[in-house]
C-alpha cells in the first residue's frame, strides 16, 4: 500500500517561496513522474514527501495517515539519490543490507532479502565488491537494491539517471519500468527530461516555478495540454507557437502546432517559408523553417524526403490539431 496525498503544501526557504500551494493525489501503485525545468521545485517537492525537508504549511498523507511531522526514517519510504549516495566503505552486500541492519532484522532474513534483491537486479556476482569498483549502471542498481529490500510503501527517485551516459540511460529506463511492473509499488520519479517522463510515467506532474501546471497521463498531456507551458514542455521537438495575424484567424492570442502536425509542400499551403537547418535522423527529418514575420518553425517529416537549406516551402497545419491559447496562456477549447 502506498497512496500519497499532498494538501495545500507550501514550502519557503527564508522569505523565498519555492512551492506556493501544491495539492496532489498519487494512487497506490502508480508510477508518477514530476517533470519541469531546473529550479521548478520538483526535487523540493520530492524531498518534502521523503521528509528530508519540513513543510512550511500543508499536510502530507501516506495511506490517508498524516505524516507531515514524521521524520524520514518513520515514513516507510525509500529514496534513490542522483549521486546514488552509496556508502563507499561498505561492500555491495553491506550497502543493500544496511536498511535491514538499521531495522534490527535477523541475519537469516537479511541474507535472504539481500540475495533476492541482488538476483532481481543482476548484482549477485558483485555482492563482495566495493561501490568504487562498479560501473555507473551497477551503482545505480545497488542504490535501487538498497531501496527495495525494505519493501517500502513507495519509492522516490531523484533524477536517478542523469549521471549515466545516453545508452545506459535508455537501458535503466526500461529496467526501472520493468521493476515497477514487477513490484507494483508506488513510485515517484523526478526528472527534467520529458522523454523519460513520457516513456515511464502512468501519470505526469508538470511543474513550473513551484506550481503544478497539469497532472495527467502522458497522452492527456500530449493531446490536451492545459496551458502554453505544458504544451511547450511536453513533446519533442517542442511545439511551434504563432501569434498575431496567424493566431487571430483562429480567434486566439496564440496558436500552437506540433512539428508532427505540419504538412510540408513545395507547391502550395497556408504558410510560406524558407528552409534553414535540416536535421536528418534517419527515420525522421527535422526542418527548421524561417517564416516571414513569425520566426523559426520546426517541421517533422519522414526521413526519405530530401530538402536542402534555402528551399522555399509551404506549411499547412492539421486543422484538427491546432492548439489555441488565450492572452494568459490558458488553453481554449
Amino acid at each position: 500500500m502506498g497512496s500519497i496525498t499532498l494538501e495545500h503544501v507550501n514550502k519557503s526557504f527564508g522569505g523565498h517561496q519555492v512551492i506556493p500551494d501544491a495539492s496532489l493525489e498519487i494512487e497506490d501503485g502508480a508510477f508518477v513522474v514530476f517533470v519541469g525545468p531546473s529550479g521548478c521545485g520538483k526535487s523540493t517537492l520530492l524531498r518534502l514527501i521523503a521528509g528530508l525537508e519540513d513543510t512550511t504549511s500543508g499536510i502530507i498523507r501516506l495511506d490517508g495517515e498524516d505524516v507531515t511531522q514524521r521524520g524520514p526514517a518513520h515514513r516507510g519510504l525509500a529514496m534513490v539519490f542522483q549521486s546514488y549516495a552509496l556508502y563507499p566503505h561498505m561492500t555491495v552486500r553491506q550497502n543493500i543490507a544496511f536498511p535491514l541492519k538499521m531495522a534490527n532484522t535477523d541475519k537469516a532474513t537479511t541474507e535472504r532479502k539481500v540475495d533476492d534483491a541482488a538476483r532481481v537486479l543482476n548484482l549477485t556476482d558483485y555482492l563482495d565488491r566495493k561501490p568504487r569498483q562498479l560501473s555507473g549502471g551497477q551503482r545505480q542498481r545497488v542504490a535501487i537494491g538498497r531501496a527495495i529490500v525494505r519493501q517500502p510503501k513507495a519509492f522516490l527517485f531523484d533524477e536517478p539517471l542523469s549521471n549515466l551516459d545516453a545508452a545506459l540511460r535508455v537501458n535503466m529506463r526500461i529496467e526501472i519500468t520493468e521493476l515497477h511492473q514487477h513490484l507494483k509499488t508506488t513510485m515517484v520519479y523526478v526528472t527534467h527530461d520529458q522523454v523519460e517522463a513520457m516513456t515511464m510515467a502512468d501519470k505526469i506532474v508538470v511543474l513550473n516555478a513551484g506550481r503544478i501546471e497539469q497532472y495527467g497521463t502522458p497522452m492527456e498531456l500530449y493531446r490536451t495540454p492545459a496551458n502554453k507551458f505544458v504544451a511547450g514542455f511536453i513533446g519533442s521537438p517542442r511545439m511551434n507557437f504563432l501569434e498575431g495575424a496567424h493566431a487571430e484567424k483562429y480567434r486566439a492570442a496564440t496558436i500552437g502546432v506540433r512539428p508532427e502536425h505540419l504538412r510540408i509542400s513545395r507547391e502550395s499551403g497556408d504558410w510560406h517559408g524558407r528552409v534553414g537547418v535540416v536535421e536528418h535522423l534517419g527515420s525522421d527529418t527535422f526542418l527548421h523553417v524561417h517564416m516571414e514575420g513569425v520566426g523559426l518553425q520546426t517541421v517533422r517529416t519522414e526521413g526519405e524526403k530530401e530538402f536542402v537549406p534555402g528551399d522555399t516551402v509551404w506549411l499547412s497545419p492539421d486543422p484538427s490539431r491546432i492548439y489555441r491559447f488565450d492572452q494568459s496562456g490558458l488553453a481554449l477549447r
Binding site: M79, L86, F98
Partner: protein, 289 residues
C-alpha cells in the same frame, strides 16, 4: 615524463635538492652516531673512544625506563584526548551556527601560541595552586586545591599539550567531515539510521583516513615534546615527568655529557622507528585509497 630524454633531464634537475636533503639528514645522524661511541664530556678536553659504554650507561640509568614509559604515556594520552575531543568539536563546528567563522578561528587559535608561552600560561594562570583559576574553582567548592605539577605532573603536561594539539585535530577532522556528501547522510536517514548509528556507520568510517593522518602527524611531534616539560616541571618531581627528549637534554646540557646524550638520541631515533612501524601496522591501511 613521456620520453627517455625528459626523464633524464628531470633526474638531473632534481639531483641538487635531493643531494642537499641527503646531506642535511646524513651529516647530523652520522655525527650523532660518531659522538655516541666517544667519551666526549664538555668538562674534559680529552676525547677518547668509548665503545658501547655510553649506551650501557644510558640504558642502565634509573631515569631511562621511566622516561620511556613517560614518553609513551604522553603520546598516548595526548592522542586520546585530541582525537576524541577533536571529533566532538568537529561535529559541533559542523553545525550551522551564527558567527561560525569567528568561532572556528577561536578554536584554532591555541595552535598559534608557541609551546613555552602556552605552558607558562597554564602553569601560572590556570594550574598554580595559590592563585590559579583551577585552585580558585576548587576553593569555591570548598575543596583543597590540587598542586598540579607536584601531584600529577605528567597528567598536567598531557593536558597542556592536548590543549595545544586539539585545534590541529579539530581542523583536520572538520575538513574531512565537510567532505562527507549530504546525500549520504540523508540516505542513511532514509534507511532508518538514527543520529548515533549514522555516526557509527557513516561518519566514523568516513573520518578513518583523517584520524589516521592526525595520529601519524601528531605522534611525530609528540615524541619530541620538550618545551612544555622544561618550563613547567623541569622533568620532576624526581623523574616523574621526564620524557626521552628531556632526558637527552639533561644528559647533554646539565651533565655536559655529549657522548651519553648522543647515545640517548640514537635510542630515541630507534624508539621513534618502533612506534612508527607499530602505527603503520595498526592504522596505516586506512591510507590506502
Amino acid at each position: 615524463m613521456a620520453t627517455r630524454e625528459s626523464r633524464t633531464i628531470a633526474r638531473i634537475m632534481m639531483a641538487p635538492s635531493v643531494i642537499v636533503l641527503l646531506i642535511w639528514m646524513i651529516v647530523p645522524l652520522a655525527l650523532t652516531l660518531w659522538f655516541s661511541f666517544q667519551n666526549y664530556n664538555l668538562l674534559n678536553p680529552v676525547v677518547t673512544f668509548a665503545g658501547w659504554l655510553n649506551y650501557q650507561f644510558f640504558l642502565t640509568d634509573p631515569a631511562f625506563a621511566q622516561s620511556i614509559v613517560n614518553t609513551l604515556l604522553l603520546v598516548g594520552g595526548v592522542l586520546l584526548i585530541t582525537v576524541v575531543g577533536g571529533i566532538f568539536l568537529a561535529l559541533l563546528l559542523d553545525q550551522p551556527i551564527w558567527g561560525q567563522g569567528i568561532v572556528r578561528i577561536l578554536v584554532i587559535s591555541p595552535f598559534f601560541i608557541m609551546p613555552p608561552v602556552a605552558a607558562l600560561i597554564w602553569k601560572n594562570m590556570l594550574m598554580h595552586p595559590g592563585y590559579g583559576i583551577f585552585a580558585r574553582i576548587a576553593e569555591a567548592f570548598g575543596q583543597q586545591p590540587i598542586d598540579w605539577f607536584a601531584q600529577v605532573p605528567l597528567f598536567s603536561i598531557i593536558l597542556i599539550v592536548a590543549w595545544q594539539w586539539l585545534p590541529f585535530a579539530t581542523l583536520i577532522l572538520l575538513t574531512a567531515l565537510q567532505s562527507l556528501s549530504e546525500e549520504q547522510k540523508e540516505a542513511a536517514e532514509m534507511d532508518g539510521a538514527n543520529a548515533v548509528r549514522r555516526f557509527i556507520y557513516i561518519i566514523l568510517p568516513h573520518l578513518a583516513r583523517a584520524i589516521t593522518v592526525v595520529i601519524l602527524i601528531q605522534t611525530i611531534f609528540l615524541l619530541a615534546i620538550f618545551a612544555e616539560v622544561l618550563v613547567t616541571t623541569n622533568g620532576g618531581p624526581g623523574y616523574n615527568s621526564t620524557n626521552l627528549a628531556f632526558l637527552v637534554y639533561r644528559t647533554a646540557l646539565l651533565s655536559f655529557d655529549v657522548g651519553g646524550a648522543s647515545a640517548g638520541g640514537v635510542i630515541a631515533v630507534i624508539l621513534a622507528n618502533i612506534v612508527a612501524i607499530f602505527l603503520m601496522r595498526a592504522v596505516g591501511r586506512n591510507l590506502d585509497a
